[in-house]
């Protein structure tokens, strides 16, 4: 098991290297170019001297290889220096902003997946009848509406008009739930449609398998067969899907955090983008990438736990 984990982690190294290459391309080669810096520096600072200073400050004037190794080094040590705008250490910033993001994304994501699974089970069981069709129509509708519009409408009606939730804001500790409730609700509403459709397909396909029929032939009630055989076997495609969704958590949290003034990584990234705060951008994106890769490794372990055909070691 440990051996497998170690090997699996080693196997992510080439991918990490590739990611470093992408970052290097985006941030150093392009991000360090004259035209680019000219574009993003504040108007009054747009002199050749300030650009040179900027470059020097971030080592963008050094040989390409050194810059690349720097990028790799930054990623490995997770040390990206200080924020351009607040002069705080980036690692400190990340550490400070992670909890809010986690508080928003983790429960929302878990509820989203769980709810989607429940609905998909309902659909698979009532295939072709009205509950299935209703959920299907609602899913398509949910998928087709822009998240931003739903967020605006939700905030306006549920928070402002009805006063069910605070309009926006943040606090430390458990009190944050008050502020998170509406974003959670919106998150789940917006994303559950995709999931239901995918899960339903996976479940329906599994449902038609011969071993499900064999289980029924043993006298197993359909509900139990659904849980024990269909759901478990559908877990492999479902897990794969869940991993693929992880990078999109960033998009979701960027929008919701900004909108509801939640001090999370997404908000940090938006601010960094708007002010072209290079160290913070690098750090945030690296954080997400590492998170994603870690999650993939974890999922591989889960595969092995679910499916005996996936061999460990």
């Amino acid at each position: 098991m440990l051996h497998y984990l170690a090997r699996r982690i080693v196997s992510t190294l080439p991918i990490l290297l590739g990611v470093a290459l992408v970052f290097f391309l985006v941030f150093n080669l392009v991000g360090g170019s004259e035209r680019f810096l000219y574009n993003i520096l504040p108007p009054k600072g747009r002199t050749p001297e300030t650009i040179d200073q900027y470059r020097e400050a971030y080592g963008l004037d050094r040989p390409v290889i050194v810059q690349f190794l720097d990028t790799v080094g930054d990623m490995v040590t997770f040390d990206f220096g200080r924020s351009e705008s607040t002069r705080q250490k980036v690692s400190y910033l990340i550490a400070r902003y992670v909890p809010a993001s986690a508080a928003l994304a983790v429960p929302a994501f878990v509820v989203e997946i769980a709810l989607a699974l429940a609905l998909a089970m309902l659909c698979a069981r009532t295939r072709g009848r009205w509950p299935d069709r209703l959920v299907g129509v609602l899913s398509v509708a949910g998928m087709s509406l822009p998240m931003l519009a739903l967020v605006i409408i939700g905030q306006r009606f549920l928070a402002f008009e009805a006063g069910l939730f605070p309009i926006s804001g943040w606090t430390r500790g458990l009190g944050a739930i008050r502020y998170l409730a509406l974003p959670w609700l919106l998150w789940v509403t917006v994303s559950v449609g995709y999931d239901v459709r995918f899960f339903r397909t996976a479940l329906v396909e599994e449902q038609g398998k011969e071993y499900v029929r064999a289980a029924l032939a043993k006298g197993m009630p359909r509900r139990l067969a659904m849980r024990r055989h269909v759901l478990r076997n559908a877990m492999v495609p479902i897990l794969t899907y869940v991993v693929i969704q992880v990078p999109f958590l960033l998009t979701g949290s960027m929008l919701l955090e900004r909108f509801f003034s939640i001090p999370g990584i997404g908000e940090l990234l938006v601010q960094a983008i708007l002010s072209y705060d290079l160290p913070v951008m690098k750090a945030t994106v690296t954080f997400y990438t590492l998170f994603f890769i870690g999650f993939s490794v974890l999922t591989d372990l889960l595969y092995a736990a679910v499916d005996p055909r996936v061999r460990l070691g």
């Binding site: 029929r213 064999a214 043993k218 006298g219 055989h229 005996p308």
Partner: protein
């Protein structure tokens, strides 16, 4: 019992439309207008003759698939009786409806297939008109199934032992440990070497023959009265086929279960079955004791089929060629379904579909040429 009016009694139009009821419901939704054969058995002499009541009595069963391309009448009026401890060979080529018959009896026909009429009486209860929960309680305990592809019939995420134990879990009060022990016993009884070890094995770790033994152990776990074996040997090698047929025969001797051997292999039926029912394009064309039917096949299809099998050591014998192919079940020809391939067909064969006529001695045949015009 002279003529069992099997198919002719079902009006073509009196079928519930697809879609107005879910796949689970319509088992009981046979058209009110459809005249079914009287369920009451003839009293007196006939009853005395039928000394032993059949364990499974299937009458006038019809199971259709309602597809976008049309209604596929996979099973269109099939009836047979299975005696206690007997084996009935249900033979036919692919697409003749033999598998659908087995699934319909168990209520496991996948959508868009549905049972549109008929009865399957097991222990005085009609399986086709039973609430789902009651049927579930009977499946596995009273009537079980052996599946064709042992690999796909086993859940890849569960050990062999667990899957056998599931059947016990449904129908017995045994606790987890007792079930596991019983599963090992069952594995031993189906001839799996090192059963305790194999009980912990995953399906992908087992060989084809071992898997089929596990599937059989699954079916036998609760000593069912009837086992429907759907092509249990087709996916296996010849040398392993013989082992599996041995196993089914031995088990039957031990437990006295009735077996429906669904197969395309006439040789397997010859050697393992007491009775044979030959299906063609959704209907039975000939039934009777195996020895009689094989010695003197009455239906031209049975005759041709028997003549088309190559046998080792008989290479000099000219094989019979059956021209053409099985008709499309969504667009059946009028008259006898075999007429277009039958070397003896006359114009009368294409006019009216013949009934399944009793020839005496337990034999029935659906052919006007075999029964003579007088019998109609």
């Amino acid at each position: 019992m002279s003529v069992e009016r099997d198919t002719a009694s079902a009006p073509r139009g009196g079928v519930p439309k697809p879609g107005n009821a879910g796949p689970g419901a319509p088992r009981s939704a046979a058209p009110a207008g459809a005249a079914r054969p009287l369920p009451a058995r003839p009293a007196g002499l006939a009853a005395a003759l039928a000394a032993e009541a059949p364990v499974l009595d299937v009458r006038n069963l019809a199971a259709w698939y309602f597809t976008d391309e049309g209604t596929v009448k996979a099973v269109d009026g099939v009836g047979f009786k299975l005696g206690k401890g007997k084996t009935l060979g249900l033979v036919g080529e692919s697409g003749c409806g033999k598998t659908a018959t087995g699934l319909a009896v168990l209520g496991l026909l996948p959508p868009p297939g549905r049972v549109v009429r008929g009865e399957a009486v097991l222990g005085r209860r009609d399986l086709l008109r039973m609430p789902e929960a009651d049927l579930a309680a009977m499946r596995g305990r009273d009537i079980a199934m052996i599946f064709q592809e042992p690999m796909s019939a086993l859940d890849p995420l569960m050990t062999a032992g667990e899957q056998i134990a599931e059947c016990l879990e449904m129908h017995t009060a045994l606790d987890r440990r007792e079930r596991a022990e019983k599963a090992v016993e069952l594995l031993a009884s189906v001839g799996v070497p090192e059963p305790a070890l194999r009980a912990k094995a995953w399906p992908h770790e087992l060989s084809g023959g071992m898997r089929q033994r596990v599937v059989i152990a699954m079916a036998l776990a609760c000593d069912p009265k009837v086992v429907i074996a759907d092509e249990p040997t087709t996916a296996l090698d010849v040398t392993v086929q013989a082992q599996i047929l041995d196993l089914i025969e031995d088990t039957q001797e031990r437990t006295g279960m009735g077996v429906i051997l669904v197969t395309h292999d006439l040789a397997a039926v010859a050697q393992a079955a007491d009775e044979v029912a030959v299906m063609y394009a959704g209907v039975l064309v000939e039934t009777g004791p195996v020895k009689d039917v094989y010695a003197h096949p009455a239906h031209p299809y049975t005759k041709a089929l028997l003549g088309s099998i190559p046998v080792v050591g008989q290479a000099a014998r000219q094989l019979v060629t059956i021209p053409g192919r099985v008709p499309n079940l969504a667009r059946l020809p009028s008259g006898c379904r075999f007429a277009d391939r039958c070397p003896l067909a006359e114009s009368a064969c294409r006019a009216v579909e013949p009934d399944l006529v009793d020839l005496g001695a337990g034999r029935r045949v659906r052919c006007i040429l075999a029964t003579g015009r007088a019998a109609r």
